[in-house]
Structure formats: C-alpha cells, structure tokens
Amino acid sequence: MKLLPRLGVTAVFAVLAAVLVHAVLNLPEPAVRLGGAVDKALGQSGVSHPVTAVLLNFRGYDTLLETAVLLLALIGVLTASGQVPGSMRRLPSTPHAFLQSLARLVSPLMVLAAGYLLWAGSHRPGGAFQAAAVLAAGIILLYLAGLLPANAASTSSLRAGLLAGFLIFLALAAAPLRNGALLQYPVEMAGALILLIESGLTLSLALTLAGLFLCLPDEFEEEDD
C-alpha cells in the first residue's frame, strides 16, 4: 500500500480512538449494578464463586452457546483441512529424548492440576475452561513429544468425547423446561449439577481445544494427491 493511504487509515483510527476515549471519560453512572445483584443471588446458585455462578447458572445460556461455537469452529477447521478426527498430521521430525522424558514427567501433573482447577472453580478462580486449557496443553505436549500415536483414539469414541460435554449441558439445561424455564436448576441440586456439567465440559473442551491445534492443515499436503 502506498504511503498516503496508510497515513489516511492511521489518521482515521487515531480519530476513532480519540472519540472512544472521549465517550468513556464522559460515561453516565451505571443504571443497574449487576455485581451487587450477583452477590445477592449467590446463595441460590449452588457455588460460592461469583464468576462460576454467572457462567454456569445465571447466564448459563452464554456458556451453552459458547461450547456449540467451539464445536462449530472445530468442524470448520476439519473441513478446511479435509481430515477426519483421529488422523492427525505427522510430526516434522523425531523429537528430542529430553522433550520426551519431560513430557512423561509433566503430563500426569497437568492432569492433576486440571482436576484441581475444575474442583476449585466452585469457590475460587478456576473452572471448566481453565482445566480444559491445561488438559489440552498436556495433549499437545504429548503429541509434540511424539508420545501420542496419531490415531490412538478411534474416530467414533473421539467424536463421542467431543460431543459429550455439550450434550450433557444441553440435557441438564433442557430438563427444567417442564417447569417452564431453560437452565432453572432446582436450588438444592444446583451445586452437584454444575459440577457434573463442568466435568463433561472439561473433557470435551480439552479435546476440542487440542483438536483445533492438531487438525490444522498440513503445509502443502494437497500437492501429494
């Protein structure tokens, strides 16, 4: 791009930033304070950490749709790469022996940390997404160390694992529909239901996040056939 249009674009965005700064500095006082409302209703949510209560109870439909979006993204990645789940790409070179022993040492600890994060989500920062991120990192580490065979999991069980979290969440969210409202868990069972949903989500999200990395298309693979 030539110099003049570049300067023009930069100027436009500088003006945009100035307008936004002006708007933020002159915001009126908020009419509703959702933080206070969350704190008041926290006793009915089944967990004692406000962010988890919002994610899985008060605004559970956000999280439900989010897991669907993640699955959709994985389907998109698989479509773009033309692979089926289970046939992951080949390693470019033989991994170093040190990386292999480090991965062997660290991966059980990562599973342990993921379990702790999942449990901690009910009363302090943590939860399904953080636990799934640690698990997915463990899967990718094992793969990069050459310890995870490319087609270890059969396609059907891998697909079931990818879907399980979303389906459990959907079933438990739809169950209170008899009483007229989506995601309206009974107060006394809310804690157990949230833990069940989060356990399913941890497994499925870990597989999905790892799949997003492992199923990216190979470079110039299509010239082989």
Binding site: V51, D62, L70, L216
Partner: protein
Amino acid sequence: MTPGLLFALTGIALFACGAAGVILAPHLLRKIISFNVMGSGAFLVLVGLAQRDGGVDAVSQAMVLTGIVVSIAATALALALARRLLNQCGEMRFPAETPDD
C-alpha cells in the same frame, strides 16, 4: 483516575491499533494477530469499565471469559483457512492485494 478507567483507556488504544493493523497489514497471519489485539482491547474495555468505581463485576468478567474462548476458536478457524489459502495460492495474502493483478 481509577485503575479500572486506565484499563479501559488502554483497551481503546489496543483496539484502535488492532483495527488499523487488520486493514494495513497485507500478510494474513499479521491480520489474524491484529484481530486478536483488537479483541484483547475490547475485553480490556469491558472488564475495566465494569470496575471503574471500585467494585468487581462478575457478569462482565464471565462474559470476557466466554469471549476469550470464542476468540481462540475463531483464531483457529482463521488460521486453518489461511493455511488452506497458502496451500492453494502459494502465499498467505489475498490475491487482489498483489500489485498489477
């Protein structure tokens, strides 16, 4: 100026830099990274504005957590499409942007 407001203003700066990068950078990988910078700016504005007068707002924090996960998914999809374009056209930029086309 409260720390929350400072976060929001930093977020605006990041958002503007990222938006300019999406348009100015010709390479698709740079566009994707710029898009992520833009997203981080939006998240910072959301979290910062919600706590500009001291209190922590769990609702905006939960929404930003949701947003981060969705942006990871969108980034992975964008990378897969960019890689596909690389395989088919031989370079990671839009064909129309090459000079004298």
